[in-house]
């Protein structure tokens, strides 16, 4: 293999269409005879539908059809399922109440915006006008939105058959008694009660769907802004609508970001598909930004009490956690997995903690579903561990860098040294944690910093530094492992490498790209593996009729899993190609070597090019006997383990003592995401992740009032990070290869978001301590008022 492209910051080939406004998103697609949908939604978080009156709406101009929850109920369609099962501690199956496509009369809405009816009309404006004319009589009921409050006696109940609003209780780690004992015997215990607040994903493209049933061919097409078209097809066909999968095509055209929120199968996808058959016309629905705030599955939302015990020298002895995780009203596609197997399993962190126990309650509340949001569980785990570390250092009067170093798992490469078995199920593949911390501290100029901090405090300015070292799990995931943990799907990926007769290569990947740059990165890998120019490679994704199968893009899995599947197919291409080349060169296969796009007889100048071999495969006049024509291979790659990227993030902040406003002065990130195919794309992923992680620390967070109204569901109220909220990022990298996939890559999509949040909060806490305000916690986001109040006490 030649490394002409791998490791280079090749410009993104997809950007031409994005930057010139020629991207083709679902909402850009217009079909002949297309109608438009608008939903009638609950204005209450919890209310019973007493009656629905369609008479006025039905007579509005342009109305084609109106369907209500009663219509759906009559068809026997139950609703959308969840893809992961978690059991109660006692072995009982989790509570899994149905998530209907529309609420029927007599039933209750369970979050603000829960739909009762859909109006389909000739234009979107007509649909909206008529949906306003649908008269629904509601009986408003009490609601609960906070996961901790939902668990209390007397809390409003979300589902009659889920007492105490408990979807499941769950634990992981060492026996609780052992952890209790270790905590009791600790010389110092740092404890922290905190909220990891609810985040709204805010993809720039709102969700959009077109359902299109064509009677003459008896085929359904769904265009959807999704991260995983095949998964949507599977869920919708097999579990929601009962459609024959081979008669359903799902397309994910250009998609404007997802951050997790477009993994899940949403009710509206199934609804436009179903309704299209009822009216025998295509139906488009594009959500409004207000709907996106309200309805795209949210992230995080944990209420936690965590305790970390240390011996007198500062060695971590034990970690004990109690968390209430908000799941929202209905279990979304991956919801049960996020707080459990993507969060509890990461609580070892980078430390040798011998005793760990997490006890977690998955709670129903009258809020929209909470599911995977960039990082999905790992940011929550990292936040918990890293806040505890910096706080423990402050409390014990130790240096936070030193405290980490003394507790780090020593470096291991996973090849000559074994992986690291954690107390919480996972086995880390390779790691060198001190390496990234040392580099980060060096970039910071730590020695000088403490001096500057003291001087600043004397001049009435508060400076703080916050550290965060993280390890996370990407490359989701070995099917057998996740199956044992409750996944209802395998988590492999497929890839087909089709060499065309002229030697040009079309690659069909199940990993959908919606901003990540797969069309570039994957092509770099293919071009180098085959020794051909990148221009000769095309990456095709997002169409269930074109691509064999796909589990999609999330969990930073695309290159590690999808890329590995491509490599497997390339190996098959080269194996068959060698047979053809040997026949052409009249030698044994073993005498050939492949490099620079040609097979050469070792030690000679006799060679045949990749293009010649491809042509011969399709024009097999002179051809090895018994060999099939063609050069086209599919593979499925099921990873051997998760991959475990890690890194060190350091934030430097200044706090305005008059107003409480936090200014992020510096942000240093040293990430180890394994081997890097395109450094520019990795940097871009880190940048975006950092912005989101910093956004969580300082700016973002959904706010429901006590009635379950979302009170900051607009950009006037919900603060997104902007360029001028952020400093120039200072990035560096370490490359510890993944030992168990062919590219040695780990995944970079979420790292920025996972490591950064606690670094920023730790820095603010550090600044406050330096000014004589020894507070343990400030609730995120750290708005000026919250920081100011923390300084008043």
């Amino acid at each position: 293999m030649s490394n002409k492209y791998i490791g280079q910051s090749v410009r993104r080939t997809e950007d031409k269409r994005y930057i010139t406004g020629k991207g083709r998103y679902t909402d850009d697609i217009k079909l002949v005879g297309m109608t438009h949908a608008s939903f009638v939604r609950s204005p209450y978080a919890h209310a019973r539908v007493i009656s629905i009156d369609l008479s006025a709406a039905q007579n509005m101009p342009g109305v084609v059809a109106i369907f209500t929850g009663d219509d759906i109920k009559a068809t026997g369609i139950v609703g959308v399922p969840t893809g992961w099962q978690v059991n109660f501690k006692n072995g009982d199956t989790m509570k899994e109440p149905p998530h209907p496509l529309l609420i029927a009369t007599g039933s209750t809405s369970k979050h603000i915006g829960d739909p009762v009816a859909v109006v389909i009309a000739e234009t979107y404006a007509a649909a909206v006008d008529a949906s306003e004319a649908v008269e629904v009589e509601w009986e408003e009921l009490d609601a609960v939105t906070d996961p901790f409050k939902a668990a209390q006696e007397g809390a409003a109940l979300v589902h009659a058959d889920a007492p105490g609003n408990l979807a499941f209780d769950w634990e992981l780690g060492n026996p609780l008694s052992e952890v209790d004992e270790a905590i009791a015997q600790s010389a110092h215990v740092t404890s922290l009660e905190f909220v990891n607040q609810r985040m709204i994903p805010n993809a720039i493209e709102p969700r959009a769907y077109i359902g299109h049933y064509e009677e003459h061919i008896d085929k359904y097409t769904l265009y959807t802004s999704t991260q995983n078209p095949h998964l949507i097809r599977l869920l919708m066909c097999a579990f929601v609508l009962g459609l024959p999968e081979h008669k359903v095509r799902v397309l994910g055209p250009d998609v404007g970001g997802g951050f997790g929120s477009k993994i899940f199968h949403y009710t509206e996808e199934a609804l436009v598909t179903w309704a299209s058959k009822q009216i025998n016309r295509p139906i488009k629905w594009t959500e409004t930004r207000s709907e996106a705030f309200m309805l795209d599955a949210h992230g995080r939302d944990h209420v936690t009490k965590a305790e970390m015990g240390f011996d007198a020298d500062g060695n971590v002895q034990a970690l004990r956690i109690k968390t209430y995780a908000n799941l929202g009203a209905y279990l979304s596609t991956f919801a049960p997995a996020v707080p459990t197997y993507l969060h509890g399993t990461l609580l070892q962190g980078l430390y040798t903690t011998p005793k760990i126990h997490i006890d977690l309650c998955g709670m129903f509340t009258h809020t929209v579903a909470v599911d995977a949001y960039r990082g999905a569980g790992r940011p929550e785990a990292t936040y918990l561990l890293e806040r505890l570390m910096d706080l423990a250092a402050l409390e014990m009067g130790k240096d936070p860098v030193q405290l980490r170093k003394q507790n780090f798992i020593p470096a291991f490469n996973g090849v000559s040294e074994p992986g690291y078995q954690t107390q919480v199920a996972l086995q880390y593949d390779s790691g060198n944690y001190q390496g990234v911390l040392d580099r980060g501290v060096e970039m910071l100029g730590y020695e000088n910093f403490r001096q500057m901090q003291r001087e600043a405090a004397q001049n009435g300015k508060l400076l703080g530094v916050g550290f965060s070292t993280y390890v996370e799990a990407c490359g989701i995931a070995p099917s057998a492992v996740v199956g044992a943990l409750g996944a209802r799907a395998g988590l492999y990926e497929s890839a087909q490498v089709r060499v065309q007769p002229t030697g040009k290569v079309s690659v069909y990947s199940g990993s959908h790209s919606h901003g990540q740059g797969h069309e570039t990165t994957f092509a770099q890998v293919v071009a180098d593996k085959l020794g051909i120019p990148m221009e000769d490679v095309d990456i095709i994704h997002g169409d269930s009729d074109a691509v064999a199968f796909g589990m999609g893009t999330y969990g930073s899995r695309s290159l590690a899993v999808g890329g590995s599947a491509i490599v497997k197919s390339i190996e098959k291409v080269l194996e068959k190609g060698a047979k053809i080349a040997a026949h052409k060169l009249e030698c044994a296969e073993g005498d050939l070597e492949y490099a620079e796009g040609k097979w050469t007889v070792k030690g000679t100048d006799q060679s045949v090019s990749f293009g010649d071999v491809a042509l011969t495969a399709y024009v097999p006049h002179v051809y090895p006997q018994g060999l099939e024509p063609g050069l086209d291979f599919s593979s499925f790659y099921d990873p051997a383990n998760f991959t475990y990227p890690f890194g060190c993030h350091i934030a430097v902040v200044e706090v305005d003592t008059e107003t409480g406003k936090v200014t992020l002065k510096r942000f240093i990130a040293v990430d180890d995401v394994g081997n890097v195919v395109n450094p520019m794309i990795v940097d871009g992923q880190i940048h975006g992740g950092l912005a989101q992680g910093i956004g969580q620390a300082l700016l973002e967070g959904a706010i429901y009032d006590e009635n379950g109204q979302l009170i900051n569901g607009s950009y006037m109220d919900y603060a997104m990070p902007r360029a001028d909220d952020l400093p120039m990022f200072e990035l560096d990298r370490q490359e510890t290869p993944c030992p168990h996939n062919p590219l040695g890559v780990k995944g970079a999509g979420e790292a920025g978001c996972i490591g950064s949040t606690p670094a920023v909060v730790n820095a603010v806490i550090d600044a406050l301590w330096s000014g004589g305000h020894p507070v343990k916690d400030i609730r995120m986001p750290l708005t000026p008022e919250r920081v100011w109040r923390a300084m008043q006490s």
């Binding site: 006008d129 107003t659 300082l698 706010i703 109220d717 008022e785």
Partner: protein, 275 residues
Amino acid sequence: MISYEFDYTRPDTVEAALDLLDDDSKILAGGHSLIPALKLRLSAPGKLIDIARIPSLKGIKMDGNELVIGAAATHSDILESDLIKQHLPMFAEGAALIGDPMIRHKGTLGGSLAHADPSADWPAMVLAAEGTVVVQSKTGTRSISSDDFFTGFYSTALESGEIITEIRFPIPAEGTKMTYQKFVQPASRFAIVGCAALRHPDGTARVAFTGVADAPFRDTAVENAVGDWSEEALEAAVALTAQGMEFNVDHYASETYRHHLARVYCRKALKALLY
């Protein structure tokens, strides 16, 4: 979202606009407050009358000892004007803090005043600079002192059938100092608290706030307390900030914090006028 259906007209003169103006219509200037309200279906006019390009409403000029800004002058027109930089530099300072370049190129001074968002920046500056709002209706024109213009939450002394045509400001005497200080709401970047302050050569002051209460206001208690602008006098003035006000409350600022910020921004503004 998508607005209700409406008609759109773009007359060439104020008179033509006034002819069209009735209870079912709304004036459209930059549209950066009105269009969002239409899209959220919070407002449902049958007709929009676009005045943004009426020549007599544009422009910034001197008229005797007054500086006159047309109602349809955009924030960026004001920001870039040499006359403004020379005579009312606070306006350039403040306009630069409104939204982003797109908003500044569309939004207008007249629109901002008519809309009277309790967190908008212009009202405080116009109050401090002793602006007079000139309005025209079919029956003639009248001038409303800015002191009387803002009457409450999104409400003004503007009556139905009236269009703001221009805002007039006395040209400050040589040596007048002025500033606008703003603490932004992190999402909207409107003012949580904005303080506009002006110091005349004789030491008298005008101090006005936005964001603090349901309407912008001049704080005469502060103005009267600045005295000789000594450290002690200023601290005494700051302590009087927004006394007896009913404070706005939202998830970014409670009553206590907003009051605190008003004092901090009052101090910042007054101190900026010391040298």
